[in-house]
Amino acid sequence: MSGDWVKVCADDAIDEEDVIRFDHGGKTYAIYRSPQDTFHATDGLCTHEKIHLADGLVMDNIIECPKHNGRFNYQTGEARGAPVCINLKVYPVKVEAGSVFIQVQ
């Protein structure tokens, strides 16, 4: 599994324990900054209904969908209970020279 590294934003453009939306190549992603200051990326849309997760709330390592409060671990993509049961796809992330990059396929 390999792909291009794409620049998302400056690392200070995402607050700690928060998420932003990132659109690229006709796809939408969600990019997270954890309370431990690590960066993560997942598919941008909830696996329950196609809702933008970036409108949801980040709590520790969990993103909660804004629509029906389905929960995922955004670091592993794991669905964490009703009503979501399909995991989220996660993408590799790196921070270089103050910028966040994700590897898209």
Partner: protein, 413 residues
């Protein structure tokens, strides 16, 4: 088949409870008896996406019941409970034994007197079959008249407009969503419906309804007459308590349960739309909710109670509704609020916070396009749950993050 847990009612709550029993390690038999033929499904789409293109959103795929060893007896009505023998009877005469019984019988739509339940033109909306029947009667050139300006009637109006149905909505209260949301939010919703071409008449009751072969005629108390091809009555729902009443279980605006969801008869539990329960955040006041997440939360909680855990109901009531591209959300109970604070998130979205005389946050209600209010509403719900007394200036200022207020609040307690 016999013993184990028997669940009466195959809706959201019953299905969730069955899965939660397994998640909590219960290995005995589980049987869900449901009067609808369908696999347990979600109702919220019935007035939204499923009404555009009828399709089921199941709580879980059929295979999951099989793999978790949950027996489904669908299309069967439970007609009696014998709490001494610990058995239930089905309409087909069968008797099933249980060790623990859970009632998740839901609610049924209220109707108007004098309406023939078999009418093809005067309908209600609660089940998938209702959605299919209503869908067939919508479209350009069709006239739909909705009685009741609550959430279901308004969602139906919005969906019916998307395919060109002509829609009139009659509400006997002075405004729509009288019980659901504050006036400021109801106005946004009413304006939007009017822009979309829905005719709304408030503050006037219905004096007569007559059905002919090809139309329904409604006469209002002020003498106005409306004709429609289809009438949908959306004036609320009543809990399905008849079975519990026949069994001698206490009923008080719903099957009365304690804060662990056990009824007045030990070993029999109730949860979801059918039950009334004491709400801790509001001084133990007994309420009944008809809300999807409540059905889920109580399904999970009741499973744990049945297995002997002593958790209590702590969740804050929460409800959402989608109409056009607007989403409304309500968290908590606003009764008793003395102060109302508005937080404007963008041109078209705002949240109202409702606080009591001591400054405690009781409730919040928001409206906006898409999920504009979702994040702040979720935080508001957590603030309510934490018993927070946030500064009014902070609530009113969208630049002050609710998350920081919550963190501070948690640091203080």
């Amino acid at each position: 088949m016999g013993g184990g847990v028997v669940i009466v009612g195959g809706g959201e709550c019953g299905a969730r409870a069955a899965f939660a029993l397994r998640e909590n390690g219960y290995a005995g038999s589980i049987t869900i008896v449901g009067s609808e033929q369908h696999l347990p499904y979600e109702r919220p789409p019935l007035s939204k996406a499923a009404l555009i293109d009828p399709h089921h959103t199941f709580v879980a795929p059929r295979e999951r019941y099989a793999s978790e060893n949950i027996d489904l007896l669908l299309g069967h009505e439970v007609t009696a409970i014998d709490p001494d023998k610990r058995t239930i009877n089905l309409a087909d005469g069968r008797t099933i034994a249980y060790d623990l019984l859970l009632l998740t019988t839901g609610a049924k739509p209220r109707s108007l007197p004098d309406i023939d339940p078999a009418s093809k033109r005067v309908l209600t909306l609660r089940t998938f079959d209702d959605t299919v029947a209503i869908r067939e009667r919508l479209g350009p050139g069709r006239r739909l008249l909705i009685i009741g300006g609550g959430f279901i009637g308004l969602e139906l109006a919005a969906t019916a407009r998307t395919f060109g149905t002509s829609v009139t909505l009659i509400e006997s209260q002075p405004r729509i969503l009288m019980r659901g949301v504050p006036q400021e939010i109801a106005e946004v919703v009413a304006d939007r419906h009017q822009c979309e071409g829905v005719l709304i008449r408030c503050g006037v009751g219905i004096s007569a309804l007559s059905e002919t072969d090809d139309a329904v005629e409604i006469r209002l108390a002020d003498g106005q007459i409306y004709a429609a091809d289809t009438v949908v009555v959306g004036i609320g729902a009543t809990p399905n308590t008849a079975l519990a009443e026949r069994t001698g279980i206490a009923v008080e605006n719903g099957i009365a349960v304690d804060d662990r969801l056990e009824t007045s008869i030990p070993g029999i539990y109730a949860a979801g739309d059918c039950c009334s329960f004491p709400l801790m955040h509001y001084g133990g006041r007994r309420i009944r909710l008809e809300a999807w997440r409540n059905a889920q939360d109580q399904g999970t909680l009741v499973a744990r109670s049945m297995l002997g855990h002593r958790d209590r109901i702590t969740s804050v009531p929460w409800f959402w509704s989608d109409q056009y591209d607007l989403t409304l959300q309500v968290a908590g109970l606003a009764d008793g609020a003395t102060t109302h604070v508005r937080r404007d998130l963008s041109a078209n979205s705002f949240i109202l916070f409702h606080l009591d005389a001591d400054g405690r946050l009781l409730a919040a209600s928001g409206v906006g396009e898409g999920n504009a209010v979702a994040k702040d509403m979720r935080l508001a719900e957590m603030l309510i749950g934490a018993g927070a007394k946030p500064a009014i200036s902070a609530l009113a200022d969208p630049l002050q993050k609710l998350k920081s207020i919550l963190t501070m609040q948690r640091g203080n307690t």
